[in-house]
């Protein structure tokens, strides 16, 4: 099947783009460090030379953890907001880099050139940013389109509902429908970007409409490959949780080992992210 071949091609092509991969990783790490380093400084200052924290080394200790958060939470909680802000900022950053990544696949470069990558990223930034806004609005609209009917159903039968199981089934149905629609929107976003680069299109909205039609016209292939990538991501998570459970973080050495494993996991996630674009470009080339 074409989508399986494209999936494989996406992965193999990503191996040839290690420079882009590591560039993205370095940026991801640097972004995260802007929150993690103040976090380290804050907890180091708060714990000082207390031995209470050692209870948190071998296992989780609820009284110590909650007491620490109660006493020093004010120095740490703002960093959670920083992390959220970084998430938003990083999203715009990834919109920027997606132009460079997709171009390298569309132009069938055998190995990625970083200067070309930067140039392409800049080239498509304006159009991709407008697309980002459209997709954001679309996601909100779809969320509301799912939320209101679900709320209406619950409201209309609320008086006759006797069990929380009914609420659960209605809510979970809504969530599944929303997640399904969300994956389609993400696919529309991806294929719009590919079409804009392929066709040198200047109007993201029109291209988005075309992409919408494209995704539904080739739904089996497009969604089939998407599912393969989702499954790959899930497998990656399972492997990570299995390893982290085995290694633990109970000594300086195991903490260092887990740090390396976690960073490898992040690299793998970035690898998959690039592979998705690679696979999609390949699929467009195969099925037109």
């Amino acid at each position: 099947m074409k989508f399986i071949k494209s999936y494989m091609l996406g992965i193999t092509a990503t191996f040839k783009r290690t420079k882009i991969l590591f560039l993205l990783y370095i940026f991801t790490l640097l972004f995260a460090l802007t929150a993690a380093l103040p976090f380290k400084s804050a907890i180091a200052n708060d714990i000082d030379s207390s031995m209470a924290a050692f209870k948190l080394l071998k296992d989780f200790d609820y009284p110590t953890y909650t007491n620490f958060m109660h006493l020093f939470g004010n120095t740490i909680k703002p960093l959670y907001k920083v992390a959220l802000f970084l998430g938003v900022f990083y999203t715009i950053f990834s919109v920027f880099f997606s132009g460079g990544i997709i171009s390298s696949f569309v132009n069938k470069e055998k190995s990625a050139s970083l200067s070309k990558f930067w140039a392409d990223s800049w080239t498509y930034l304006s159009r991709f940013f407008r697309l980002f806004i459209y997709i954001l609005i679309l996601q909100i609209i779809v969320a509301l389109l799912v939320f209101f009917p679900v709320a209406a159903i619950i409201s209309s039968i609320n008086s006759s509902i006797q069990s929380e199981a009914t609420y659960f089934y209605i809510a979970i149905t809504g969530v599944i429908i929303y997640l399904f629609l969300l994956t389609i929107i993400i696919l529309i976003s991806d294929y719009t970007k590919i079409m804009m680069i392929n066709d040198k299109a200047l109007r993201p909205f029109r291209t988005m409409i075309r992409s919408f039609a494209y995704v539904f016209r080739h739904f089996f292939s497009v969604y089939g490959m998407n599912l393969l990538f989702i499954i790959s991501g899930i497998i990656l998570f399972i492997i990570y949780f299995f390893i982290s459970d085995k290694v633990g973080m109970t000594s300086g050495f195991t903490i260092f080992v887990m740090f390396l494993i976690q960073q490898l996991f992040i690299i793998c996630r970035l690898f998959l992210k690039i592979s998705v674009y690679g696979g999609e470009v390949s699929l467009v080339n195969k099925i037109g």
Partner: protein, 673 residues
């Protein structure tokens, strides 16, 4: 024996047997051969529930005995359901104005009320016109939760009065643990209930008087013991559960059933009904267990069975025998959630949710907690209005002990995805993490927590200082205290001083004067006072002792000491402990030295700052206050220890985790576009 007498005997036996076998005419089954309690407030009640209007129509025969030495000229009754009559009842005012943080924002969706239609003595004297509403606590004219009835002639000491009371009550939509939700009913606090006439010997009463408080948003109840014979009539599709034992069920011609319940030596009577209940029956020793589950929660019944059996065993082993022959557990539906977690003798409600994960032991916890109220309040009938800590706090202490014993100290409350904590840990953290642990002391009326803190202070702080007392005295001594308290005060009305007297008695007997002449200092601080405990290891110093060098005057001669290099290193090591809080607790201090040796110091904890010094070849490496985790009242765990070496392992662990979370969060966001 002559022929005539023989015939008469045969006839009598035949007649009695016939009467006993006739439906509706059988005598109630006696539960206890010998009364366990004074039984001075006894009720025979007939009640009919109209499931369409949610109205109860009832008549009760109250048989009340004056146990005091006073001539009683007035009776006082609770009409609890009137708390839900309007927005100006004391209950609703306290709830809406935030006086009660516990029931803050509670709202009545369907009002409830109770009217006394008539009140007559058994010889027909009508007292109805003498009924008047009184407001002993706050003078709120709109509150109708207490009535007073002047009697025509006083009740003499030891004499009994029989009153026939007709009443009509409307159940509210379930609120504060009573009412209806759809076809589920929890009928609690539903009938005119006489208050407690206290006299010297009961709690801290100096003279005789009624203790009959209004219904407050924070408060629960207080009542005398008695025997209840209750006939409940309702549509025949309903499954019923109630306090006490089911005596019989009669199927009436009008598609209703009448259930007859009898309860002995109990302080209250409540019942439940729903056509949806799934009944699970079980046994523990000679106690029959009846669980009325919602059908969607039926898969959780084994968890309830396990925890109720564990609780029965634990309380029997560590406090005293559960004397009743049965226990009924009620699982309210989701929309009847407000009826959950309420206790009555031999009967209580739990809170469960469809497919609640095994790692969340809230179901087990509420089962054990509410069962525990059979002891703390059920058999030890303290005044829940005035001493809420004495039932809720003591019960929380036993709840934590039972939970931790059954499910593990570190995992008994929550154990999900590596995040876990025990029940005592949960109680302790609730207290030590309070924004203002000085907001109120334990010893106050339940409605006097006007600035908040009722829940944490009453339940969690009491549970925590009881656990601290246990650690101070040892488990054996604490068990002896609790068993003595139960043995001496069961089926009576204990007060704070009754408990403290037992603590001091057992303490002196077992530990002499180890922590002072008595333990009043402990209760003065943590029960009557609102002091806060916070000890800190302020610093550690290891100063190398230098050999004397330089010029010293010795016998009018200047003597020069030269510095000699030596391999021996001697240190003057010390550490400073500071008492930051105003509480004083005897404290152990663990000290670890550079040669891997340890020492345990016992300190009385009184000084504001205290230096401990050591001299020798070893240096202090770390100091831990309370290394055996005995003092759970310390509100800052982090400053209780200090190490000379700043170790970064834990900091690195959590920084690594945080970095990883942020990276994943960023990638998750970016995946959406």
């Amino acid at each position: 024996m002559n022929n005539f007498n023989f015939k008469k005997i045969i006839k009598t036996i035949f007649l009695l047997t016939t009467i006993l076998l006739l439906p509706g005419n059988s005598f109630p089954q006696i539960i206890f051969k010998k009364p366990l309690s004074p039984r001075n407030a006894n009720y025979d009640i007939n009640v009919k529930l109209d499931t369409k209007t949610k109205i109860l129509v009832g008549s009760e025969l109250l048989i009340w005995t004056n146990l005091s030495k006073d001539n009683i000229k007035e009776l006082q009754f609770h009409l609890y359901l009137n708390a839900f009559k309007n927005t100006n009842s004391t209950f609703m005012k306290e709830a809406s104005t935030g006086v009660s943080k516990r029931n803050q924002n509670i709202s009545v969706k369907d009002w409830g009320w109770i009217d006394v239609l008539s009140m007559k003595t058994i010889d027909g004297k009508d007292l109805t016109s003498k009924i008047k509403f009184i407001r002993p606590d706050d003078g709120n004219k709109d509150d109708q939760t207490v009535i007073s009835v002047k009697l025509n002639k006083p009740i003499k000491p030891g004499r009994t009065i029989k009153l026939k009371i007709d009443f009509k009550a409307k159940l509210p939509k379930v609120i504060a643990r009573t009412g209806y939700s759809g076809n589920f009913y929890l009928v609690g606090q539903w009938f005119p209930k006489i208050g407690v006439y206290e006299f010297p010997g009961i709690r801290n009463a100096k003279k005789g008087g009624w203790n009959c408080h209004q219904f407050h948003a924070n408060s629960e109840f207080y009542a005398d013991y008695g025997v209840y014979n209750v006939n409940i009539t309702l549509p025949n599709n309903y499954i019923v559960g109630a306090v006490g034992l089911l005596q019989k069920k009669i199927e009436n011609k009008d598609s209703t059933n009448t259930f007859t319940y009898r309860a002995e030596d109990v302080i209250d009577f409540a019942w439940t009904a729903s056509p949806r209940f799934k009944v699970v029956n079980d046994m523990w020793n000679n106690v029959s267990i009846r669980i009325l589950m919602q059908p969607e929660h039926l898969s959780l019944a084994p968890r309830v069975q396990h925890s109720i059996k564990g609780a029965l065993q634990f309380f029997n082993d560590n406090l005293g025998k559960y004397p009743y022959p049965n226990v009924t557990i009620v699982d309210p539906p989701l929309k009847g959630f407000a009826a959950g977690g309420m206790e009555y003798p031999t009967f209580f409600t739990i809170i469960s949710l469809w497919h609640m994960p095994q790692g969340m032991k809230f179901l087990e916890d509420v089962t054990i907690h509410e069962f525990g109220h059979n002891y703390f309040m059920g058999m030890l009938a303290s005044n829940e209005f005035e001493d809420p800590w004495l039932d809720e706090g003591f019960n929380s202490y036993f709840e934590a002990r039972t939970m931790d014993s059954l499910y593990g100290k570190k995992k008994s409350f929550v154990n999900l995805f590596g995040y876990h904590f025990g029940t005592l840990e949960n109680q302790r953290t609730a207290y030590i993490n309070m924004r203002n642990p000085k907001i109120a002391n334990n010893y106050r009326n339940s409605w006097d927590f006007t600035n908040g803190g009722y829940g944490v202070i009453t339940y969690d702080k009491t549970g925590t200082w009881m656990a601290t007392l246990e650690r101070l005295l040892s488990r054996n001594v604490m068990d002896e205290i609790m068993k003595t308290y139960f043995k001496r005060w069961k089926f009576k009305h204990p007060g704070a001083q009754n408990f403290i007297d037992i603590v001091n008695e057992v303490y002196n007997k077992r530990l002499g004067e180890k922590f002072g002449k008595n333990l009043n200092w402990f209760f003065d601080q943590f029960l009557y006072g609102n002091v806060v405990c916070d000890y800190k290891v302020a610093n550690i110093k290891n100063v190398r002792v230098r050999q004397p060098s330089g010029i010293y005057d010795s016998s009018n001669v200047k003597k020069l000491y030269r510095y000699k290099k030596t391999k021996d290193k001697n240190y003057h090591s010390s550490f400073l402990v500071s008492r930051l809080g105003d509480a004083i607790m005897p404290t152990e201090i663990g000290v670890h030295f550079s040669d891997n040796s340890d020492t345990l110091i016992t300190w009385d904890g009184k000084a504001q700052n205290k230096d401990f010094a050591f001299a020798g070849k070893k240096k202090i490496e770390w100091v831990k206050l309370d290394p055996n985790n005995k003092n759970l009242m310390d509100i800052n765990i982090i400053n209780n220890s200090l190490s000379v070496n700043k170790k970064t392992t834990v900091i690195n662990k959590y920084t690594t985790k945080f970095l990883f979370i942020v990276e994943n969060l960023m990638l998750a966001f970016s995946m959406l576009f």
